[in-house]
């Protein structure tokens, strides 16, 4: 596995002179040079795009470093991609750069003499055809077919005892031909065919991803003989995780370890997209510089596609630390993006022949296709499953009066549709939640923020809420991740799904904070022991199917809400019509029903005055009864009308002095108190806000009842008091009268409900019903306590804010 720290990897670059090689180390970015004997020298330059702190981590000392770096170094070389221009090769072969226009040798690796017995400087400017005339006479013909950037595998070449695999590619006008020494002359791509076929069949037959990764790893290990083969996968932030492993006992297991994104920086990932295979047969190698002719000397060779490309000494140090002198890595590409790597290691140095590497590349491409297929089918299976959950929820919502109940009463699908740990519905400021969520007050704050900062978005999704909303750091335990859809912008209605902080203990492959040693100097990591790092304030990421299904659910909810709104509008219209009808009805009742009673009374009065009746006691009594009955009927109609009006007419609220009101009522009731002894206790009744007329009706009624039902007492005792509780102002009227049986309490406040016979106590049976209705219209209550023969207390309350 390639491991480069973006900001401090040091590349080496050979500065050639005609006579000797001055071997120096260069920083990959700023090209500051160091003597090769002090590769750990600290120096400074700005952070590169490749340095990416894993989310949630603070790289305190790195940041401090970065600030220092920015202060004292120009940013000039950062846009270079230095890992592509090391200007040296690994020594297990040699390189010749040929001008494709005239076949002259323009560049050559310094070890040419070891292989072809020709001094590097001597070869420059020569005809390549002449150079290869004795060892590879066909080469020139073959080279003519090599096209730009395409790595061509040419016929092996034998020079003396050495056999070389030959590859060639073009960099502009330069044909780069690489000769790679191989140990084993006999095997060829053809001989690998049975193995490749078996591998392809196995890979296609794998059932689970875990199985797939293991099978692929196993076949690559069989082909290459590496001690350990890892399948390494990137997440969205380019952190890596080992998801598959095949190995023997020579090397330790790295399975499931995680590696910070900074381990494979952006420019390395870019290189891996272009050149799928990297190989280092021996980490202890001594790099061989490339010598170029005068014209090309200032311009380093772009070695993106070179198989012999030399790598950073920092990386080599990593490999030595890992105890893996030999490595190979192959890119796994999915949809043109780097999905992961197949990373091979060996406990001793090891070469992998070109044709074996080609077979591995082929297998990895098959693996990549399988991964893509599986991801796609897993994705669609997941979508189908979620769509099913969506339909289930839709059914539940349709069955309830309010869609909110359809969600809240079925937490399993409600949470399951997004694999959330908690969820909440906020409708017009009212919040209801299931599962693990922040408190309602916190959700209110969150919705407030969504409504202002994210008011244009129908969807808000994050796996680190505190990044956008700092105060959410306090709710990380329940709401590190949030998926929110807005139902109505006007009413601030949202459905929210929450995910807790993944205080998952991640097995980091290396501690991202520990890339410098304790002396404060830059140094490669020396330990690959598992380093546990907690990812703070982050949740599991939300997947596309989860997000898409939640959006579909949102649309369903909106259509339900809209349908409900239409139904509600219909209902409101109907209610309006019924109310108007009722009003017309009571209007005509009030007019037309009263008239006949008035006529009966009127004519009966006239009749009573007729001379014929003047002396007839019996006739006089009959007429009086007629008058009295008509009177009663008229009062009933009036009472009923008053009751209906209490429910209909609008309240005109104002502060009312209750003691004044009670005094007025008692004045009206004076006739009823003639010849009575009543002990009054009237407390400080204070002030209350309400409809004065209605309050008058209440006290008139309660006082009149108290006077009426206590008339059997020699000394009646009536108390009118006020009490203020936590939420209410309560007025009470008690008497020591005949009382009532609590069993019939329910009847007391009903219309036309009476507990006494008419002869005992007259009345219409509407008074208390009216009191109750007035209380309700003021947001209060009316109730009573009593005992038969032992007095009664009637209560009338209004909310405290009515003071």
């Amino acid at each position: 596995m390639s491991k480069h720290r973006a900001c401090r990897a040091i590349s080496h670059r050979a500065v050639s002179s005609h006579s000797s090689f001055d071997f120096r180390l260069f920083c990959r970015y700023c090209l500051t040079s160091f003597p090769s004997y002090m590769p750990n020298e600290s120096h400074s330059h700005p952070p590169h795009g490749g340095l990416q702190a894993p989310p949630g981590l603070t790289l305190a000392d790195d940041e401090a470093l970065a600030i220092r770096l920015q202060a004292d170094a120009p940013a000039m070389a950062c846009e270079h991609e230095p890992i592509r221009i090391p200007e040296s090769i690994q020594p297990h072969g040699f390189l010749v750069g040929i001008d494709s226009r005239d076949w002259t040798v323009r560049r050559v690796s310094a070890n040419l003499v070891d292989h072809l017995n020709v001094q590097a400087e001597a070869a420059l400017g020569q005809s390549a055809i002449a150079l290869f005339a004795s060892c590879a006479p066909e080469l020139a013909t073959e080279l003519k077919n090599v096209v730009l950037h395409d790595l061509a595998l040419l016929q092996p070449v034998t020079v003396g005892d050495n056999i070389y695999n030959v590859t060639a590619h073009r960099v502009r006008d330069l044909m780069v031909v690489e000769f790679e020494l191989r140990d084993d002359a006999r095997s060829s791509l053809d001989s690998l065919y049975p193995q490749i076929r078996a591998a392809v069949e196995d890979i296609q037959a794998a059932e689970t991803p875990e199985h797939l990764f293991r099978i692929a790893g196993m076949h690559i290990r069989l082909l290459t003989g590496f001690d350990r083969v890892l399948i390494y996968r990137f997440d969205a932030q380019w952190n890596g995780q080992v998801v598959g492993e095949e190995r023997n006992d020579a090397l330790p297991s790295y399975f499931d370890l995680r590696f910070p994104a900074s381990d494979i920086p952006a420019q390395a990932r870019e290189l891996y997209l272009l050149n799928r295979i990297r190989i280092i047969p021996d980490a202890d190698y001594v790099p061989v510089p490339i010598v170029s002719d005068e014209a090309l000397r200032a311009e380093p060779l772009d070695m993106t596609y070179c198989v012999l490309r030399s790598v950073s000494p920092v990386h080599l140090q990593y490999m030595r630390n890992m105890g893996t002198p030999a490595s190979m890595s192959i890119s796994i590409l999915r949809d043109g993006k780097l999905w992961g790597l197949v990373s091979c290691h060996h406990s001793t140095s090891r070469r992998v022949p070109t044709h074996v590497r080609a077979a591995c590349d082929f297998l990895v491409q098959i693996l990549a296709m399988q991964i893509a297929n599986r991801d796609r089918s897993a994705d669609s299976a997941d979508r189908v499953e979620r769509q099913h959950t969506h339909a289930t929820l839709l059914g539940y919502m349709a069955r309830e009066q309010h869609y909110v109940d359809g969600l809240l009463r079925h937490p399993e699908p409600f949470l399951g549709i997004a694999d959330a740990a908690g969820a909440a519905v906020v409708v017009e400021g009212q919040c209801a939640a299931v599962g693990g969520t922040p408190t309602k007050a916190q959700i209110a704050d969150l919705v407030q923020w969504l409504g202002t900062a994210r008011s244009d978005d129908e969807l808000y999704v994050t796996d680190c809420l505190s990044r956008d909303l700092p105060m959410a750091a306090d709710w990380a335990e329940t709401a590190s991740g949030l998926l929110a859809v807005s139902i109505s912008q006007i009413h601030r209605s949202y459905v929210l799904w929450f995910r807790p902080e993944v205080t998952r203990t991640v097995n980091w492959g290396g501690n991202p904070r520990k890339s410098r040693d304790t002396t404060g100097k830059l140094s490669p990591r020396v330990s690959f022991d598992t380093w546990k790092e907690t990812v703070r304030l982050q949740s599991e990421p939300w997947t596309e199917p989860q997000i898409d299904t939640v959006l579909a659910l949102r649309n369903s909810i909106i259509s339900i809400v809209m349908r409900n709104a239409e139904e509600l509008a219909d209902l409101a219209g109907e209610l309006k019509r019924i109310n108007a009808e009722l009003e017309a009805f009571s209007y005509s009742v009030s007019h037309d029903l009263r008239a006949p009673f008035r006529h009966i009374v009127g004519y009966a009065e006239l009749l009573r005055e007729m001379p014929a009746l003047t002396n007839d006691k019996q006739a006089e009594r009959y007429v009086s009864t007629i008058i009295e009955s008509a009177h009663t009927a008229g009062k009933l109609v009036d009472g009923l009308l008053g009751f209906s009006q209490t429910g209909r007419i609008s309240l005109s609220k104002r502060p009312v002095q209750i003691n004044d009101l009670v005094r007025d009522c008692l004045r009206v009731l004076e006739p009823d108190m003639k010849d009575r002894v009543i002990e009054w206790t009237i407390g400080d009744l204070g002030r209350a806000v309400g409809d004065a007329n209605m309050f008058r009706q209440v006290f008139q009624n309660l006082l009149s009842n108290a006077i009426k039902y206590s008339r059997t007492r020699e000394v009646a005792k009536i108390a009118v008091l006020r009490e203020t509780t936590a939420n209410e102002i309560v007025f009470s009227v008690s008497d020591n009268g005949v009382g009532f049986d609590m069993r019939y309490i329910d009847k007391l406040f009903g219309v036309f409900q009476r507990l006494h016979r008419m002869e005992e106590f007259e009345g219409t049976g509407i008074g208390l019903a009216n009191v109750k209705r007035i209380a309700q219209r003021h947001g209060g209550r009316a109730w009573a306590e009593g005992r038969l023969g032992d007095g009664a207390t009637f209560y009338f309350s209004i909310p405290k804010n009515s003071e």
């Binding site: 009030s590 007019h591 037309d592 008239a595 006529h599 009127g602 009065e605």
Partner: protein, 156 residues
């Protein structure tokens, strides 16, 4: 010459009882009765059947609310809407204390609004008070009509 009273009432029983009440008030004024809103307006404005009548405004109009053809509120609106009749006192006599009617009547400029009591004694008292106030107190004293002379009632 005492001014007349205009009583507008469609219900014959109410009409009779009201006239009895007025009779007992011992008012000397002549009472003119109209049985619906149109009749009342024609008489007041000397139109239709009363075109050419000598224009003479009544001391008061006792007006029932619910009337055939043109209801009491419309009659009230016409009287109070015309500068020639605006000064004529109008007392609304109605069967109920329906809030909307009350508000509307006062909006239109009614001079009094009386709910006919069920009790005849109360009714009698109410009519007598009305008659006294509008026909008597509201005018220079007309001199009492002797009790044995019947009250003059004319239909419009």
């Amino acid at each position: 010459m005492l001014k007349k009273l205009l009583l507008v009432e469609d219900n014959p029983k109410d009409l009779e009882l009201t006239l009895v009440a007025l009779e007992r008030s011992l008012l000397a004024n002549e009472v003119v009765t109209a049985r619906d809103g149109v009749e009342a307006i024609d008489w007041l404005f000397c139109e239709g059947a009363h075109a050419g009548r000598d224009r003479e405004d009544p001391a008061v109009v006792l007006l029932d609310l619910k009337l055939p053809r043109m209801d009491g509120l419309e009659v009230l609106a016409k009287i109070k809407g015309d500068p020639a009749t605006r000064h004529i006192p109008v007392v609304m006599l109605t069967a109920s204390r329906e809030e909307a009617d009350l508000v509307r009547s006062y909006d239109l400029g009614v001079n009094a609004f009386v709910v006919k009591p069920v009790d005849f004694q109360d009714f009698f008292k109410a009519i007598r008070d009305l008659g006294m106030f509008w026909a008597v107190l509201n005018e220079p004293h007309p001199g009492r009509r002797p009790p044995d002379v019947p009250m003059k009632v004319t239909e419009v």
